[in-house]
């Protein structure tokens, strides 16, 4: 007897009991669809975060003050003033850091900007002109400031798209004067809509020379961050160790544990994100796996009931010439078809839900959210559901195959 014929018998029996079959596979459907959803949303989140990180280029290295934060207690490290002009000058010496092509200081602080009677809350970024290239920002109107503006502490700003829109509406902003902390700044340029870069919403930013921001607005002489660009990706590791050596020498640090700065590469950031989402995904998948286990036990239960209920059918089939293997295969196949169908429905249902979730998330939470179909999870899910059918179906199938045809035929 061919497998195809057995498949027809088994699926026929399941179709004859439609509602029971549907209820039986519900557990599997829920289990598989939650795995698909977890994987899809997890991948979507990872893609979103990685997209932000990669938005500032893979050759960039970030030097930040304070030692690497390892927990909440290190929060204060973010405000350490260990990176200033002295450190910048030392790093910029070609003999100290050989593989770097640019150094961009970076300070940031939330502030309110006003134009006439309109005010708007945003963040002031003080930096160097290289930032526009690194963040891939270009002005829609006007221009961006130059190195000369940095040197001369020019009171000029480039506005993010939202700031411009809220303060000026549709009218022209370039050449107008805006006020921040009672100081007047001339608008040099307005950026196009950009959205998030490196977790900062560029549309809410006011960008100006770092010297101006440090002296006139923030009253500090250090940087929150120095963005270093390596000449090529191959030179990243070398550049990182050059930076560390230079700063340690400058600060007389011998023990790397006592560093008053830390260096992050894009690869580090991607790795951290990957490991966090990996752990989260693993946890959620474990929960989904429990629901699959419960679903499998449900299948076994129903199959056992079904075997008892169909005792007469089994006896009849044996009397008409079915061998024990025929019966075993039939019931095993029924279980596998049930769970396989549950898997397929679960994959479809989970994909649909994650697709809808992606639409909602991209509308209301993060515009860069994209639906990801987790192909590997779908294949694994299909495999797992079939395996559950085999694993939990074998016992009921053996029960069925071992029935004595006489007892079975007598059973009313």
């Amino acid at each position: 007897m061919s497998l195809l014929q057995l498949f027809k018998i088994s699926s026929g029996a399941l179709i004859a009991n439609k509602s029971r079959s549907a209820l039986t596979i519900l557990g599997i459907v829920i289990g598989i669809s939650s795995i698909i959803m977890v994987m899809s949303i997890g991948k979507g989140a990872e893609g979103l975060i990685l997209g932000q990180i990669q938005g500032i280029g893979s050759k960039t290295i970030s030097v930040e003050p304070g030692r690497e934060p390892k927990g909440p207690a290190d929060f204060a490290e973010m405000f350490v003033d260990s990176l200033g002009d002295r450190e910048l000058d030392a790093l910029m010496k070609k003999s100290n850091v050989r593989g770097a092509s640019s150094f961009t200081p970076f300070v940031i602080q939330p502030m309110t900007v006003s134009y006439g009677s309109e005010t708007k809350r945003g963040s002031v970024i003080g930096t160097a002109p290289d930032i526009f290239r690194i963040f891939d920002l270009s002005p829609d109107e006007g221009t961006v400031f130059s190195e000369d503006d940095v040197k001369s502490l020019s009171s000029v700003v480039v506005l993010g798209a939202n700031i411009k829109e809220d303060l000026f509406g549709l009218s022209d902003a370039v050449g107008e004067k805006v006020k921040i902390k009672n100081r007047t700044f001339r608008v040099m340029g307005v950026m196009g809509k950009k959205g998030q870069v490196s977790f900062l919403n560029m549309d809410d930013m006011i960008i100006m020379p770092y010297t101006t921001a440090q002296s006139y607005l923030m009253g500090i002489d250090y940087f929150h961050n120095i963005i270093v660009e390596a000449e090529s990706e191959d030179l990243i590791d070398e550049t990182v160790s050059d930076i560390e050596a230079t700063l340690r020498e400058l600060h007389d640090i011998t023990d790397p544990e006592k560093d008053d700065f830390h260096v992050n590469t894009q690869a580090d950031a991607a790795e951290i994100v990957g490991s966090i989402t990996g752990v989260l995904t693993a946890l959620l998948v474990a929960v989904a796996a429990i629901s699959l286990l419960v679903g499998g036990i449900g299948i076994m239960n129903i199959m056992l009931v079904s075997v008892t209920e169909r005792t007469r059918e089994i006896g009849l089939r044996k009397a008409l010439g079915a061998t024990s293997e025929d019966i075993l295969t039939q019931f095993l196949l029924e279980a596998v078809i049930l769970t396989g169908a549950g898997g397929v429905i679960g994959i479809g249902f989970g994909s649909l839900l994650s697709f809808l979730a992606a639409i909602v998330l991209s509308q209301f939470v993060a515009s860069g959210w994209v639906f990801v179909f987790p192909l590997s999870a779908a294949l694994v899910g299909l495999f797992i559901s079939a395996a559950i059918g085999l694993g939990f179906g074998i016992y009921p199938a053996k029960e069925a195959a071992s029935k004595d045809p006489i007892e079975a035929l007598r059973y009313e």
Binding site: M1, I9, R317, A319, L320, G321, D326
Partner: protein, 239 residues
């Protein structure tokens, strides 16, 4: 050589003190083409005998030869093949699969026959036609009367063209009119198609449709005799 040779077979259930003897020292031969009724009251062991003759059970003593080989010479899979190809069963309670069309019910033995699927439809339809139910082929058992159900069961028993038909109280669950039709069909199978028929019944009236009656009482053959004035289902069946 007889189709069925039964020599001193016995069947004992249970063990160690609480033994129940279902059959004791039963012997008879049945030739190919014979119509034999095995008759006895309930509990006489006639069902046990049917199960042994039909390869559903093994005797605990004696030898049962079918087609020249003893039952012990048949492997489990060969026994299944005998049940499939050489024997057709008709049961008192029909044993049709619910929610399954008449056509598919009749096809059931073909699933296990190794016959190519493309022949199944024709074979099943021919069998259904022979019991006069072709117009009901797509109906489900729940839509049929008891007599019709038993005719479907007979079609199922015939579909693989077996040489031997076992009918276990085939009229037991039927009214007398339907019972008559069933006995008519069974007699025709024996006389016109040369099928060997073994009929199990507790009713003398029904048993007298056969050419020969083997009467079983308390697990032993009480009488084995030719029927004088055999009943014709077409004229004088009564229940």
């Amino acid at each position: 050589m007889a189709l069925i040779e039964v020599k001193n077979i016995s069947k004992v259930y249970g063990m160690d003190g609480s033994e129940t003897v279902a059959l004791r020292d039963v012997s008879f031969d049945i030739e190919e083409g014979e119509f034999v009724a095995i008759m006895g009251p309930s509990g006489s062991g006639k069902s046990t005998l049917l199960h042994i003759l039909g390869f559903l059970d093994h005797p605990t003593g004696g030898t049962y030869r079918f087609d020249g080989r003893t039952i012990d010479e048949y492997s489990d899979n060969e026994s299944a093949l005998v049940r499939n190809k050489k024997i057709g069963f008709v049961f008192q309670s029909f044993h049709l699969l619910p929610r399954t069309s008449v056509l598919d019910n009749v096809k059931l033995p073909l699933l296990y026959s190794g016959i190519k699927e493309s022949y199944w439809d024709d074979m099943a339809r021919k069998a259904i036609e022979s019991v006069g139910l072709l117009h009901r082929a797509d109906h489900e058992p729940s839509e049929l009367s008891g007599g019709e159900k038993q005719r479907v069961a007979i079609a199922r028993a015939l579909v693989n063209s077996p040489k031997l038909i076992f009918a276990d109280e085939p009229t037991g669950n039927l009214d007398s009119k339907s019972g008559k039709t069933i006995m008519e069909i069974i007699q025709k199978l024996n006389e016109e198609e040369g099928k060997t028929v073994i009929l199990i019944t507790h009713e003398t009236d029904t048993a007298e449709h056969a050419e020969r009656i083997i009467k079983i009482i308390d697990g032993e053959v009480d009488r084995d005799f030719k029927v004088n004035g055999r009943k014709r289902a077409a004229t004088d069946f009564s229940k």
